[in-house]
Symmetry: C2
Subunit: 97 residues, 2 copies
DNA sequence: CCGACATATAGATATATATCAATATAAAAA
DNA sequence: TTTTTATATTGATATATATCTATATGTCGG
């Protein structure tokens, strides 16, 4: 995952809403569709595939359902990458004192 | 600055290159154009206006030139925001232990 | 004021992306 | 096997975005 892929994956409101939903629990696609309320299932599936590609979500199949949850580790790593690339002095402050 | 505005501002390769150039020094627009090499001046101006809008760069006029530099504080704040929103457990680890 | 230079803006165009309806795929139930 | 349910994929379309050329704006020197 590079910083551009991460930024692109995050650069959409619907995707961020989905990520919020998945932040601290596993949800199946239909649950996500219902909680979003205004977005159709294929659209949600599309966003999930982008988040999967970016490895920002975990996925687990269970029968006919797919469960997703947020990959917080990946988010943390990517944020750290952005900090290193674009706020190195702030990072130095954190480490040094 | 919200997390979507930040992600959108970061979600372009040319913009990230510009941010790299401005990371640790002030450059005028023409210097940026020359260092990028393959991008025309109006395109660079356009990207700079997006970065300005997102408050990710500082700007200073000097005669006919405009100098830009990266706002590392803003980057750090936005990365922190992403962490809080999308990796709260990782953040808790950092704080708690 | 006029010309030269630096940057910004306008307008046009091509590409990327988000969304939906329709359909395919896969798994469980009848 | 047929039907039902859950998710993924396809194809179409509208919007957003990146880029360019041409031009406007703003600043300095003569």
């Amino acid at each position: 995952m590079d910083s551009i892929g991460f930024a692109k994956a995050m650069a959409d409101e619907t995707r961020q809403k989905i990520m919020q939903l998945l932040c601290c629990e596993w949800l199946c696609v239909n649950d996500i569709v219902e909680r979003l309320g205004e977005v159709r299932q294929p659209t949600v599936s599309h966003h999930l595939s982008i988040l999967r590609e970016a490895e920002l979500v975990h996925m687990r199949r269970e029968g006919k359902q797919s469960f997703y949850s947020l990959n917080q580790d990946a988010v943390a790593v990517c944020c750290g990458m952005l900090m290193q690339d674009f706020a190195p002095e702030k990072l130095a402050l954190d480490i040094g004192g």
